[in-house]
Symmetry: C2
Subunit: 666 residues, 2 copies
């Protein structure tokens, strides 16, 4: 892409057995999506304001200021070029720097859309759309994150003035973490306990202005600031995650988000006839974007590690021939290729979630809430699973690059540091898996009752069959049949679930059993979510997919994804009695054959992600593979190399070297 002077990976590219351009379309979803991404990526890459390779050298203040600059410039370009919403959001993705705009567009606007009345939306959304106000999402407090119902900030209705008094009664009630809050947001959706007439009605959202629109100073009664440095160089330090305290701050009554519950002029609390479940729609939406981000982050890491593994050679030179490319080592393949397959798997399950979101939305509009619990559990589980695997996967990719992966210029440290909080925000991953497990236990308990499990739990309808059947694999080849793979994952998931339900029933109470066995329940939930991903990947491969060899490669990746999980969780599969140790060994054998099939296509498979060098931000992952000269060049840019003799030499090194010793023990 940038500078075609050399291509150290040309040989790799020529070996690919499929049509890369067609794979780009399969990955992106459509030709249109490829085109938009292409244009936006180039736009960003070619604009010096969006330069990002200096990030790790900037102090917090400069770093932050630079992010403000980029955000303003992006907004300018979006308007100048009259970009569509799709294009604008793509552009923001390629700018690739967490900033207050993420929360403004990603949380503040959706919160008002989801929880505001029509009137409130009419008032606030145009301001937000034009960025005449900038908003954030202020839920978490110093003392409470996962347990939202435990938030301590109060919003007490004062009927005398028709206002709410927002207050932080304790230190732990300080808002803590909201992105964009620390230094930038003029407004926030603040979650607080609604109190009317001395009665606590639980948590509601309120639109609260935080800063003057004239000079940006915090309004009276408000203390606000940044919570400090976070993991990594650059990374999330471009974001002003904030702390916020209220000292009896008054807001008009109509700034409570009143779509599902209201407070009247008299201070009466009333539920509207809009069902509460509507709120889940937003949650499904947000989680779907997180799954899609997971595939993006993992694919970036994998792209870097695959390309560098093809460039890097170590050992195995016979009589002067070049050494072995490290990607040819089976250990390297067994660590890397399952992650490559996972990136594709997450991409496709993410696309499917978009469908699910539309389906849920349509049903909600038709007052059909029947699929909501399942959709909720499914998205919670997929959010948890994909983010955990991605976080670990990025670090594994870094290790796969040996020593050089530890340099910031490899791009991997920052990718990791900026990504890991996805395991925590929008629901701690373990807390989410427990919710999934709870739903699964309920589904299992209702299996006899005639209530048919729906959507991703439909397989549980075949519980009898799945508890009794046995895997009929006789050869390694047999593991290539989608039906074989699918039933193995179904049988494993339901057997673990049924076992767990049985074990729970041995406890004095359901609750006690659930909490005592919660570690097992997490494993049940994981098994269920892995099944979902496997089955959606299988569905994808069944689709009509264009392009030479594309379907074949996706089939191979699907099998790699599934069989690497069989190997990793062999204990589940074997100890629930569905597969024998021998069949497990055959799965492992097949896996090796599959790796050999991936190998010649590996570089082309990551090329299909269509990432620019700017977006990848990695010397090791350069498209042209020209790693060594560029690493060498880059080193000299470090501030420590500004002078040959380092600052501090005269004070702290020279005196050491020149000291005279009289100490006897020396």
């Amino acid at each position: 892409m940038e500078g075609a002077a050399v291509d150290h990976l040309a040989h790799e590219r020529s070996r690919a057995q499929f049509d890369v351009e067609a794979m780009k379309i399969a990955w992106a979803g459509s030709k249109h999506a490829v085109d938009v991404a292409d244009r936006m990526a180039r736009l960003v890459a070619s604009d010096p304001v969006f330069k990002k390779d200096n990030r790790m050298m900037l102090g917090r203040k400069e770093l932050f200021k630079n992010t403000l600059r980029k955000a303003a410039h992006a907004w300018k370009r979006i308007n100048e070029l009259r970009l569509t919403e799709e294009e604008a959001s793509m552009l923001r993705i390629f700018v690739d720097e967490p900033g207050y705009v993420d929360l403004h567009w990603g949380m503040f606007v959706p919160a008002i859309k989801g929880q505001g009345t029509d009137e409130q939306q009419k008032k606030w959304l145009p301001l937000a759309y034009r960025m005449q106000i900038i908003g954030c999402y202020a839920q978490t407090e110093l003392g409470h994150g996962s347990n939202v119902q435990g938030l301590e900030t109060t919003a007490t209705f004062d009927p005398k003035t028709d206002e709410f008094i927002i207050h932080s009664p304790t230190l732990t009630s300080s808002k803590w973490w909201p992105g964009g809050l620390g230094k930038i947001s003029t407004h926030a959706v603040v979650y607080a306990r609604l109190i009317t007439d001395g009665k606590d009605h639980g948590i509601n959202g309120f639109i609260v202005q935080l800063r003057s629109l004239d000079d940006h100073s915090p309004l009276p009664g408000i203390v606000v600031g940044d919570i400090g440095t976070k993991f990594g160089n650059g990374a999330y330090n471009t974001m002003d995650n904030g702390v916020l305290r209220f000292d009896h701050v008054r807001i008009p009554r109509n700034q409570m988000l009143m779509r599902v519950s209201q407070v009247t002029r008299e201070g009466k609390f009333v539920q509207s006839d809009v069902p509460r479940q509507l709120l889940y729609g937003t949650m499904v939406y947000v989680r779907q974007t997180i799954v899609s981000d997971a595939s993006k982050a993992l694919s970036r890491a994998v792209c870097i590690a695959v390309r560098y593994s093809a460039v890097r050679r170590q050992f195995g030179s016979q009589d002067g021939s070049p050494e072995t490319q490290v990607i040819d080592y089976k250990t390297q393949q067994s660590r890397l290729f399952p992650l490559l397959a996972s990136a594709y798997a997450f991409r496709f399950v993410g696309e499917w979630l978009k469908w699910l979101y539309r389906d849920v939305t349509e049903r909600l509009q038709a007052n059909d809430f029947s699929t909501l619990p399942e959709a909720h559990a499914c998205t919670a589980g997929l959010k948890s699973l994909t983010t955990s695997v991605t976080a670990d996967g990025i670090e594994e990719c870094r290790k796969l690059c040996g020593g050089h992966g530890y340099l910031c210029s490899s791009g991997l440290p920052e990718l990791f540091a900026v990504y890991v909080p996805a395991c925590t925000y929008e629901g701690d991953n373990v807390v989410l898996l427990l919710q999934v497990a709870r739903f699964l236990m309920k589904t299992v308990s209702q299996l006899g009752s005639g209530k048919k499990p729906v959507g991703t739990t439909a397989y549980m309808g075949s519980v009898q069959h799945l508890l009794q059947s046995k895997c009929d694999v006789l050869t390694a080849e047999d593991w290539l049949k989608p039906s074989v793979i699918l039933e193995a994952f179904e049988a494993r998931a339901i057997r673990l679930a049924v076992n767990c339900a049985k074990n729970i029933s041995k406890f004095p109470s359901q609750e006690e059993g659930f909490s005592e066995l919660s570690a097992d329940l997490v494993e049940v939930a994981i098994a269920h979510c892995q099944l979902i991903i496997v089955s959606k990947f299988i569905d994808k491969v069944k689709e009509d997919i264009q392009g030479h060899g594309v379907k074949e490669l996706l089939q191979i990746l699907c099998n790699v994804y599934a069989l690497s999980l069989v190997h990793k969780h062999l204990g589940d599969f074997v100890s629930t009695g569905y597969i024998t140790p021998r069949q497990g060994a055959l799965a492992n054998e097949q896996l090796r054959f599959l790796y050999a099939q991936v190998r010649p296509n590996a570089v082309a498979l990551v090329d299909a992600f269509n990432y620019t060098d700017h977006y990848l931000g990695s010397i090791l992952g350069r498209f042209d593979g020209n790693v060594y000269p560029k690493l060498y060049e880059e080193a000299w840019k470090d501030p420590l190399n500004d002078t040959v003799v380092p600052d501090g030499y005269h004070e702290y090194i020279r005196p050491l070297l020149k000291q005279k010793f009289t100490v006897s023990r020396m």
Copy 2:
């Protein structure tokens, strides 16, 4: 320790069922070791020069200069107080900042000791001991790390002048990574291909002066600098990992390290009668220190996560009572307690390695090389296993702290970033495990031959028994017997090894089989290493251990360590046929009971590490548990909070908010 005003963990401490002071001794190894550590830790903590909580706010240059200052100050204190070597090394540990001194003492000095002749030692060591020269260890190049035999730097003997000409013939031959090289070292042990009379004799070490002792400028022909920013804020960025190129630099012949091979005045290459194996002694020593560092790093992370999990409450409040401490959730326990147990396990296996090093050294002196291959494999494997688990474990501890773990003030991000390269340096962990596997395959192949396996492979002598026996566990209680646990790990290890050996033999050649099955071989090596750790922990618990409840708690931790591995690797244990799925379930059940026994002792078990708040460097891990007020205070120190309105507001935010829109789509 610091400020006994509050102790939010007092209740936890009062619940402990064992004598914490005695446990400190068991952990540290002796009362003497506790005392030294105590004194040195306080010395460092009370000295303002050693302050470290500002690290993440410093730019690279300031950070680096500050490290130089600390190193000089430490050296001054060491001399002023006439500290013993033990005390000095403890003091450096508590200064807790990677710096050039680590390589000087940890690699440069040992390299000369190990590879220099007596004469060379006499010349160079006193200079190094007095720090009149500062040295580093320059082995790795841009193009070669794992494959040391592939290094490209040349050292060509010039008989005319009796000198070696050190040269970097290619870009990839640039030295790259050596710590202390970039800005500080005056000398290096440089590894280069020795060439005499046109003949390449492979890699040898050379003492090369790099910088002028007068003004620190690089000597003629030498280009040297820093390789740039690395993972994390602070972390390894205090170290000047360097790049180095030679343009025909001449050094006297007697600066080749000549203990095992020599070049004569005439340019003849001769092997000395000192056996090459002697060099392995150093390797065993270095790896032993890495294992000991692993237990240190993991125990720090665990200490933070345990204390914070006892402070943090979330959910489960009934009618106004306090919420549940998150450490009471079984999921939290099942993630945290195995890591707590691992910290202890690694500590004890590290202590055992000290014994092994002494044993090896004595045997070497007696020309007994029989145990070397086993000692080499064992230390390679333990280095790999403990560093991998520690790296992952630190990140898991961070996640266990929820959102707040992502703040640098939690201490965990930096602990992670500074630790992870341990998986790569001193041997990439996968490359090391393959060496272990190779040794194990050899041992298996010799089992019939009458050659008795020694040391940590002695169990392989009982191969017949271990292949045939079955686990006789009937109740969860049975899993508490050390003999049951030990045999399970032995049987698993040898069965995996024998299976693998069989599978290899099906390939046309041993080499092909080994490379094709290398992913399985890594698992064989891991199983073997886990067995070593389990068995050393069991041995430790058998010792005479003082103090009320101490032995009992160690027994519990030993069981947690072993059974959590049985659960994690259930696939191995079940599919090799040694345990049944039912027995696996019983192990898991027992694990739950064990967690319940650990729970009341958890805080005391991390107190036993005896870490000061300075050393921990974590607000979440504070001894007094006073987390929230201190987090809040700390936030305001961030540079972004220097001003209420951030730099950049006028340029990049105000214009946004104030813009007038004419764009129709808005």
